[in-house]
Symmetry: C2
Subunit: 327 residues, 2 copies
């Protein structure tokens, strides 16, 4: 009889078209319970799904010997399971990302490694996010302030990334490890400095489970329904931008300002993202306002201006003048 | 200097076009802090907003002498403030609503009284729902399982109903009562049997406030943004149904099944609501499925069938045959 983790992984893989026969898939392997279970489960499904499993470990070098111990464990596990493993060693502390926490920088470097390996092997990347992570993400976004998109939680599939454990709870995963005699490391840095996520996980979720013992499933159903709504509105905005665009990142304001509100704000958000500008509500509102009034110029970010003039809207890069050097 | 409650009430009234000059407004007055504050605040704004304030108390007769005491208090308060008060006495226990809790029945009878008086006086009805109620409602819906609509919280305005305290927290309201020396009764039945809402209010909200002290504002902004999205999708569904309808509650399935998913499910939900059937996801999915396959018949509720045949979808009432009586 198949265990529930295997069943749920197959269900998620099929529902979200995560994998098809002949696919290669790289498991992001920290060595923790989630990723060890995911690796073992996908390996056991290689024949059934017609896939080939690889693993990738990113050593963040944040905990000295402990980090190296985790790496050594993933190496021995993959050797035992006959899985090809790639190890990347990254320098999180040296990474030059301003205004970012250590977690954010580590995450960025980790996904960069995943992305590169994915290209090299022509493979998808499976990360071990589970139903509990999904619920935590929804609550965290809600508490920080969010709109529809933030309530959609962790997408089960995005570009080359897939999350086959999205239907499994942490408890089920730990049981699966026990049943299959899988050892795993306990990654102490995992969110340990993220005050909000910790508080949500340790203090909030147990209270919520008292009210609704099926919390993770309830939230999973909600995020699925919301993703359908959100994706539809995002597509409408993308279509609208295609129609409003006249090339070179310039858009007709007449077309934009006649869009219904939810499509308008999403279109403005996409215009910002196109220029690698984080679409905060302050920026969306500011840019949206000058598009609506038909003219104006606002400083969006250092050296970047949103400009609306003669029926056209665009984001211009206006670099600082070279400092004059007195000779 | 104006106090924050008055400012926030004016803000809400203007933002949501709740009231205009010459309007009559009936305050639903339980005698609790919220409704007493609302009554006093709107009365103080009569000249500024150009409105005329009335009050309506519904005695649910659920707590014997205590209920009568509440009624007496509202009578003396309105006399002091020179406000015309109407009192309705309802029989909650005798109301014949199946599968409904006492709270639900009381609510139904209360709103029936509001609605009747609203018609009689040609007035809007203001209820005292505040920012905390809004947050509780969002969390309750989320814990019970919901989609976009349930996350929109309490609508600030719907038909003849307005909620001018929607930006005010319970704490601010109690402070306002203290400052203005307003007495109020403590309605002990108020949600006292609603396990989930109580648990959310007493155990959950304080934890959430530890993480985000501006919780009520954060959720208010979220529900506002979501309402815009939700309203837009609802309108699309209504427009689609108008186009798919051929009269007598019959709809062209060809048109319906080509709708994008979020519009389709909302259109099916509206078809159920039109026939006074609660649109549960089970019913929406069932009816949706036979619309998509192009034929079928399912029992939606006692004596009610969703029928899809020859490119047409409708809900048919098929009453039980009269029982044959052996003579």
């Amino acid at each position: 009889m198949a265990d529930s983790i295997t069943e749920k992984v197959i269900q998620a893989v099929k529902q979200f078209d995560m994998l098809e026969e002949g696919n290669r898939v790289i498991v992001g392997l920290s060595g923790g319970a989630d990723s060890v279970a995911l690796l073992y489960c996908l390996k056991s499904l290689e024949k059934i799904l017609g896939i080939k499993v690889y693993a990738c470990h990113v050593n963040h070098n944040l905990r000295g010997k402990e980090s190296d111990g985790d790496q050594a464990y993933t190496e021995s596990l993959c050797k035992d399971l006959g899985i090809e493993l790639r190890v990347f060693s990254v320098d999180v502390m040296g990474a030059s990302a301003k205004h970012k926490s250590i977690e954010e920088k580590a995450r960025e470097l980790r996904y960069e490694a995943f992305c590169n390996l994915s290209r090299e092997l022509g493979a998808k990347v499976a990360t071990a996010h589970n139903a509990c992570d999904n619920t935590e993400t929804v609550l965290m976004n809600m508490l920080r302030g969010t709109g529809l998109k933030g309530l959609c939680g962790i997408p089960p599939k995005r570009d080359y990334l897939i999350r086959p454990l999205i239907y499994c709870s942490r408890e089920e995963i730990e049981d699966y490890c026990k049943e299959n005699k899988l050892k795993y490391v306990t990654d102490k840095t995992n969110f340990s400095t993220d005050y909000t996520r910790n508080k949500i996980r340790i203090e909030l979720i147990p209270k919520l489970l008292e009210i609704n013992p099926s919390l993770f499933n309830t939230i999973r159903r909600m995020t699925y329904a919301l993703s359908v709504d959100s994706g539809f509105l995002e597509n409408m905005a993308r279509d609208a931008l295609d129609k409003a665009g006249i090339g070179d990142g310039i858009y007709e304001t007449e077309f934009l300002r006649n869009l219904p509100e939810p499509v308008f704000t999403r279109a403005v958000s996409l215009m910002l993202k196109e220029k690698n500008i984080e679409p905060t509500s302050l920026r969306i509102n500011g840019f949206g306002k000058i598009i609506r009034t038909g003219h104006g110029k606002i400083n969006i970010e250092k050296n970047k201006f949103a400009v609306v003039k003669k029926g056209k809207a665009e984001i211009q890069f206006i670099p600082q003048k070279y400092r004059q050097i007195n000779t």
